[in-house]
Assembly symmetry: C2
Homo-oligomer: 508 residues x 2
């Protein structure tokens, strides 16, 4: 509720001409209006239902955490807010806005470890903040929807996360063939790197360059990756990206890995097993993924839904085992009108060291995060959103201001019947009131002037039908005579008459 103390907020000064603030948002932030909020709420409810059916429980952590608990060290002096929004508390300790939902989960588990069921399975949905350069479709506040299983290294937990991702997309209306959950393992990637002699701390930077190249397979194709593994690659704009400068033989191994063939995941993984050779990590990764795919296949998720993909890397350093990427594979037109695949709408993986940051005790964990805004964009692109027309409230017009209590009474009857309704609360005339109802997306308005009042009647004007007819009837005389989509009923029939209009348009 608004503060009833007298101390805050202060400085809420009367308007002063000299120093009026601008009514604008900082770059990278945006307002979300009714249509999008409703579509989003529909979507979140469907995701939530799947997560609950899977046995995940909700958890909410606050927006603000200690910076060091989130795993960022103190911002350096040159760039005080790099990547995250940070500020000092009164005791000078650094606070940050969360940049994802995983770091707060690790802090929560570490703080409450003893009393939690193990494994601990939670979902979370909410905004996160990134202090990064905003761009088209790239905001500094956006929403994530995560599910994680913490406290087990059982690969069945990873398999289940993949099934969850697939089932979530189906619950949102995407069909087999519209999407795929791609799976890989950091251990497999480590195995390949070891196999080409890039194990060990001294090769850390070079390993990253190789992984970056592998990650680009989707966008650049095998030739592009080959260039990035070697000397480097010039893109269409002429920009040159320096490569990993691997030897021919090393490049050959990586390409063999990326193009491993087989009739199914198991066969491909067997081939990858040969490539990683004696690498212990590599062999463990291959075994994990083989079991993961077995579990998925047995549960009815064949490889058109959940599939091994050697090019999946996932950028975050903290992944330690299987990594997942949920991709929409159908085609849409991008902003330039080109036909492209929609691409990634979520991802995740196994991270076994995040809780240990706090406690020193290893707590294995695996999870998945949906990019809610991208998923919503995909749903909109597929035309799967609910139409918004006529979803506004019924508006009772004010024809005579001395009759407000009477109009308010009509509104009350409609509301009691669970029909969204309101009396026009402005002070303008009939024409502005009709325009208001149009803007609100009202299905109909209720009108009672003095003539109708004397007769104990109300007029109902169907705005959806009216707008359809007005597009059809061009003659304005004919229009006025027909008075289309407008009819009178006794006051006592107000609610049933409005219901009949709503029913006509598939509402109520």
């Amino acid at each position: 509720m608004r503060s009833s103390g007298f101390e805050a907020p202060r400085n809420m000064a009367k308007p002063q001409k000299e120093q009026r603030p601008e009514a604008q948002l900082p770059k990278g932030f945006r307002d979300i209006e009714a249509g999008e909020i409703r579509a989003m709420a529909d979507m979140l409810a469907r995701i939530r239902e799947v997560y609950e059916i899977y046995g995940f429980e909700p958890l909410e952590t606050p927006a603000i955490e200690y910076t060091d608990a989130l795993g960022k060290f103190l911002p350096d002096q040159d760039r005080p807010n790099e990547g995250v929004f940070s500020f000092q508390d009164e005791d000078e300790r650094w606070l940050s806005l969360r940049y994802d939902l995983t770091a707060p989960l690790a802090r929560y588990v570490a703080a409450n470890f003893d009393r939690l069921p193990k494994p601990f399975r939670r979902y979370a949905v909410g905004p996160v903040w990134r202090n990064e350069k905003p761009g088209p479709g790239r905001f500094r506040q956006f929403m994530q929807f995560d599910a994680d299983t913490v406290g087990t290294d059982n690969v069945a937990a990873d398999a289940e996360i993949c099934m969850l991702a697939a089932d979530t997309l189906e619950a949102l209306g995407f069909q087999h063939g519209d999407y795929v959950v791609k799976v890989n393992s950091r251990k497999v990637l480590d195995g390949v790197l070891e196999a080409i002699g890039l194990g060990g701390e001294e090769h850390a930077v070079r390993r990253l360059t190789v992984l970056r190249a592998v990650d680009k397979l989707d966008r650049l194709g095998i030739e592009g990756v080959q260039l990035l593994l070697g000397a480097g690659r010039k893109d269409e704009s002429g920009d040159f990206t320096k490569g990993a400068e691997l030897a021919e033989e090393q490049i050959g191994v990586v390409l063999q890995y990326l193009t491993a063939e087989g009739k199914d995941g198991a066969e491909k993984l067997a081939r990858v097993g040969e490539i990683v050779g004696k690498s212990e990590a590599g062999a463990a990764g291959v075994e994990d993924l083989t079991r993961l795919l077995e579990l998925c296949a047995a549960a009815g998720y064949p490889q058109d839904r959940i599939r091994f993909d050697p090019s999946v890397v996932r950028g975050l350093e903290y992944y330690t085992g299987p990594v997942f990427e949920a991709e929409l594979t159908f085609e849409v037109r991008n902003e330039e009108g080109q036909v492209v695949r929609f691409g990634s709408v979520g991802g995740g993986g196994r991270y076994d060291d995040l809780v240990a940051r706090f406690t020193g005790q290893r707590v294995p964990a695996t999870g998945f995060s949906i990019g809610v805004s991208r998923l919503q964009a995909a749903i909109a692109a597929r035309g799967q959103s609910r139409p918004q027309e006529g979803r506004g409230p019924v508006v009772v017009l004010v024809m005579d201001r001395s009759e407000l209590p009477r109009y308010q009474g009509f509104v009350k009857q409609l509301r009691a019947a669970k029909i969204p309704a309101e009396m026009y609360l402005g002070t303008a005339g009939m024409k502005a009131q009709m325009k208001y109802a149009d803007r609100r997306g009202s299905p109909c308005v209720v009108i009672q002037g003095s003539d109708e009042r004397v007769r104990g009647e109300v007029q109902i004007k169907d705005l959806i039908e009216g707008s359809r007819l007005s597009a059809e009837i061009s003659d304005s005389k004919e229009w006025r005579e027909a008075r289309p989509a407008q009819f009178s009923v006794p006051e006592a029939e107000l609610v049933s008459a409005v219901k009949s209009v709503l029913a006509r348009h598939g509402r109520g």
Copy 2:
């Protein structure tokens, strides 16, 4: 989704013994767990339904705004974050986390004025942040649920806000007599202050002291207020609060105002009209409130639901007309075990100058804000929350790790029937698995060892019934022989057997 770029978040270092962060939240922040989240979601859905029925549309604004747009000036150097959490953007402009939902609404309306329907009616729900000293039940992040009508000075809009508050409380299960919406007007208070010669800028500080005293009528009674209007008051702990030092005659007028008698609001207001005398603001305030109460009474909200109360002040400086306070009047025990009235769960009022801060153009507005956490505490105190027992997932135990695909198949059948279910994903034995199911609040577990598997059966163990029986049966031999609440069914009957257990406990 989690970032797939390689740049953020960095510094997610491997655990280092020397500098482990503590797993703790900053003071004044808290985690919210499943039971509370579910109760909260129930409550928010009911509030949302009432607001939608009233014709309010949802709007979401971001957490971060320009500090000056929120109406706070730059933080001074001594206390950089007073009242709000603030930090500088890369271009050095100050940003703040919103401290309420009203200031962002004013910014939104100013920025989008031309294209909005007028009046503009929106609701908003979300967290707000206050950089204040936390205390018991007082957090630095909490949730508000607001409804506002912007762009009309029609007192019918204020009346409707009061009805909305009353209907919201009823939708949450509070009955006539459990609550009251108290109404006053800043103009009436201004009139009283003018009547005792405290009009004009030169008396601004003194006026505030008088209003503070009036605001305390509920807590201190009329004698306490009398002292605070005079020399001052010493409380039980011996602390002295300096008073407004009004003359006897002035005090008499204020007390007359606070104790105005009458059979209903109209009569009381007529009496107040005499007290404010020639004050133009006072007369206008009395007229507003008279019409407001007329509208409420005509719509079926008599004074046991919406009532004039001369002691309602509301702390915020920006109110310009009617002010509202929703109070729960039933008694509960406080932390010290004393019986007290629950008190305020929301408030609001008319604020006609907030949009003009940006545009210079007056845009009258009125609104109401619910303190979601306090309201939830009230619902819990009344025992109106849904019980949580047995609301967890059905757990399929893992008796034989080579049979994971089979257990996963059971889970899949249950989920397909919309029954929350999971396979135990940890790696511990039977006893720990049963403990896990207990902790998760599972209604039952599904067990299949090798014996049952050979027979093509599963065992269902009803944990709710089991825990009831185990409290009744004290003899452990008798217990083992009875194997209460546990039965076998053929695999094909798994889903229907689980459904029968759920039905037994009122679920599904």
